[in-house]
């Protein structure tokens, strides 16, 4: 990756909240880690290199030029169109997710710059009901693409989603069609769409907008696929290959363009976007 300028990540301000515990255990190597240190390291284990989840805002901060991000998300939230109740009411799930994340839904949309190239980006947050796509996420993705068309800039989507949101039924299913329908506007305007797949990119998100990038980049360690491992195992009752639905599997079978380490993702994104700067529209 030497063709790309090496840049250091944006340092993230960490408020010290000692009551939440200063230490965490790595789920991979079992090492006891100083949380602040992990956060400063892009949520990568300093010991074994394991990637931990990034929240949407942590992802934004790790990817774009410092101070360049403006949140342009539409001020909308789910109205629970089916008044869905499973083991608990969907409205309660939403409240809990809002409380836990400080977000109205599982996605943030904004304008930003990546090494001074202006873009519109939409970033999913897996903490919010598994990053699932319901009506709000569908609308926000479309809003992002439409803003990119208005601004005449590339669109970047960073997926982290288990798929369609069950609790909004067919409304969620239709967001696959909705986002794909609007995706064509970017093509009509000759604007590039870079799809970045992070852990996990699956189900209805993988089977719609995330798979339609002009360029598809996967972060190392992601899981990419349509039908979940459990679904396949219970349907077929047979063992799956060890690398099944991994980034390497997707690369080997031609589903994605590249696999990239988290710490060079930003340079990689800037590098690929630079090819499209100055394309005649």
């Amino acid at each position: 990756m030497s063709i790309f300028k090496e840049k250091r990540y944006v340092r993230v301000d960490v408020e010290s909240k000692p009551e939440e515990g200063l230490w965490m255990k790595c789920k991979s190597c079992g090492d006891l880690l100083f949380k602040r240190r992990v956060k400063e390291n892009n949520n990568i284990c300093p010991n074994c290199g394991e990637y931990f989840f990034l929240t949407a805002m942590e992802r934004v901060e790790s990817l774009v030029d410092e101070g360049s991000f403006t949140d342009i998300s539409k001020p909308i939230e789910s109205n629970d169109p089916l008044m869905f109740v499973d083991s608990k009411p969907y409205s309660q799930r939403l409240d809990e997710a809002r409380e836990a994340t400080g977000l109205p839904d599982a996605i943030v949309v904004g304008r930003a710059q990546v090494e001074e190239i202006p873009i519109v980006l939409a970033v999913m947050d897996f903490r919010f009901i598994g990053g699932s796509m319901g009506s709000v996420m569908g609308e926000q993705i479309c809003h992002g693409m439409e803003t990119a068309v208005l601004d005449g800039v590339p669109f970047v989507l960073i997926s982290s989603s288990g798929g369609a949101r069950i609790q909004e039924g067919v409304f969620s299913l239709m967001q696959m069609a909705k986002t794909v329908t609007v995706r064509r506007r970017l093509a009509d305007a000759r604007l590039p769409f870079v799809s970045i797949m992070t852990y996990p990119t699956s189900g209805g998100v993988q089977a719609s907008i995330a798979s339609l990038g002009d360029v598809i980049i996967a972060e190392r360690g992601t899981m990419i696929g349509f039908a979940g491992r459990r679904v396949i195992q219970s349907t077929l009752a047979k063992e799956l290959p060890a690398n099944y639905q991994t980034d390497a599997f997707a690369l080997e079978h031609g589903g994605i363009d590249r696999v990239v380490n988290r710490d060079v993702l930003r340079g990689e994104l800037a590098g690929v976007l630079s090819f499209f700067v100055g394309v005649k529209r």
Partner: protein, 318 residues
């Protein structure tokens, strides 16, 4: 449906009495009339006010008419086109040319098997990536010659398997959505049985979406929803209710355009009546859409999908 079996037994009994009446000249007409009245009452009791779960059972009923039944009864001169030109042919999704009245159309139809052997061939109607890619081929053919497209949806879902993931089924679905979203020819989709999630939507982006009365359309099967969000497989009946997956519910929510009536007892009880209803609805929609200039057609489809979804504006009180 054990009650349905009682109906079948009663029907057989009446038939037996009828033949006795004919062959032996014994007058049983009084008894026959009494039983017929009883049968009619039982039918009404059983089939009016179906629960959502009962509709799920109907949608998957082993006797339910499948795509090929409609292709044979509603259309003429079906000329099947095979293969995606890359990997192979998928017998779980049929494509071909046919005539609706005298109008050439392109048909995409998801096909389940009747027998065990046929289901081994057709994977129980679960479409594989080359099925979706064959469908895309047929869609582009339709566009090239301005033939309306009719899609018959009936699948538990896309086939989940290692091979399907290797061939990137998710991307195959996504590309079909993209192709259908701006295809410059009319598209009418009809859910005849099971509309299983993305595997169904992959041939379901359309100008008009119709459903048979006892068909279902869902983001996830009630069984899978029960095991994922209730964490209890046995709660599928509750999941069926919560998902709003029946045709009447989806019409009420504005997610589909038309519910096509089925005869009492389901499409298979009187296939001829079902066929008549399907034919007249398909004709009506295709004729209406064929009248529209293609730019208007595509613009209307764009608006339809751009605006699908429900949410509210966040107010300061929240």
């Amino acid at each position: 449906m054990s009650d349905e079996r009682t109906l079948d037994l009663l029907e057989a009994k009446i038939e037996e009495l009828r033949s006795l009446n004919r062959e032996d000249g014994i007058d049983l007409s009084g008894e026959i009339a009494r039983l017929e009245k009883k049968l009619e009452g039982m039918r009404r009791e059983l089939y009016s006010n179906l629960s959502d779960w009962e509709r799920v059972r109907f949608a998957r009923h082993p006797k339910r008419p499948y795509a090929l039944d409609y292709i044979g009864a509603v259309f003429s001169d079906f000329y099947e086109l095979h293969g995606d030109r890359i990997v192979g042919d998928d017998p779980a999704l049929l494509t071909g040319l046919a005539r609706l009245d005298d109008r050439p159309v392109v048909i995409l139809g998801q096909q389940k098997g009747r027998s065990t052997e046929e289901n081994q061939l057709r994977f129980f109607g679960m479409t594989r990536p080359h099925g979706y890619r064959k469908a895309r081929r047929a869609l582009l053919l339709a566009e090239r010659f301005s033939f309306p497209v009719i899609t018959l949806i009936d699948t538990p879902g896309a086939y989940p398997g290692v091979e399907a993931e290797e061939l990137n089924v998710g991307c195959a679905i996504a590309e079909n959505l993209l192709t259908m979203s701006a295809l410059r020819t009319p598209i009418v989709s009809l859910v005849i049985g099971e509309g299983g999630s993305g595997g169904a939507l992959a041939i379901g982006v359309a100008d008009r979406v119709l459903m048979l009365e006892n068909a279902i359309y869902s983001v996830i099967s009630p069984e899978a929803a029960a095991s994922i969000v209730w964490r209890d497989k046995e709660r599928m009946k509750d999941a069926a209710v919560a998902l709003n997956l029946t045709a009447p519910h989806l019409a009420e929510l504005g997610l589909i355009d038309t519910v096509i009536d089925e005869p009492l007892g389901g499409a298979h009880r009187d296939f001829q009546a079902t066929t008549e209803n399907v034919r007249s609805e398909l004709l009506r929609h295709v004729e209406e859409l064929a009248e529209l200039p293609v730019n208007e057609l595509v613009a209307a489809r764009y608006e339809r999908y751009r605006n699908v979804g429900r949410f509210r504006t966040i107010t300061d009180g929240d």
